[in-house]
Amino acid sequence: MLTLQSWIHIAPTGACLEGHSVPVTDSNEGLLKRLYHQYVGDYPKFFKMDPLCRLGFIASELLLQNTPDRFSPREDRAVILFSHSGSFASDSHYQQTIADPNDYFPSPSVFVYTLANIVTGEIAIRNHYFGETSCYLLNRKDPAEMIAIVEEAFLDPQTRSALCGWVEYVDETHYETTLFLVGPEDHTGKPIWNQDTINDLINF
């Protein structure tokens, strides 16, 4: 039986960790940059990421920030993310950058983010995870399907925990992520990882 170890929600209105609002200072920068400066600050690769990756990355940073031995390499944690739009925002941006035939210089660093699963890789690289990483595009936010897919990942005996959840980026004012850290039952009273538990959180 799997349990929900911790969770985080980020939307343009703010970030919420374990149900508690994450304080963030006011500035002219967008929320994700403010969260980066306030809670991360030592990973310049953040600025190279596309918005979807920034969203997933920042959520994972806040979710994992107090984890002991966080950066020790491990193979037992999967990163499994779900989205509806995937990399569509970056796909569109890339298309715009190559639209003018008289100024046709495709940018490798823009193109590289036209894959939705890059966000799982960014999280894995940052945290030295060498387990499964996967990204699924769903027609809608479907907790039952997400639970089924995550549970399937645990059929691999190597997988003992999973950083999973919903990551959706449309534009600067329309984005949302809810990430979960899921692991085996540890008899500490953590909620069971099932549809009842996450339905409220995923629709936070």
Binding site: P44, F47, K48, F105, P106, S107, P108, S109, V112
Partner: protein
Amino acid sequence: MEALMVELKQAIIEALNLEEVTPEEIDNDAPLFGEGLGLDSIDALELIVLMEKKYGIKLKDAAEGRKIFQSIRVMADYIAQHRTK
């Protein structure tokens, strides 16, 4: 050459999204890859695009890029000799 090196640093900062780096912080002779700015393989490709887009220099051989992208000074030297715009 000094002006070109300053221009080149600014162009690299913009092209590679080095948001927290200023031109003054980039040593003209420091390696761009590995240590120094810690650039990666995607950055190398982006520099190849930059060379063509801004200076009209087409690099066809990756090994050639490895030599040219040693440092800002080496890049600027190469640009000064080969630029077509």
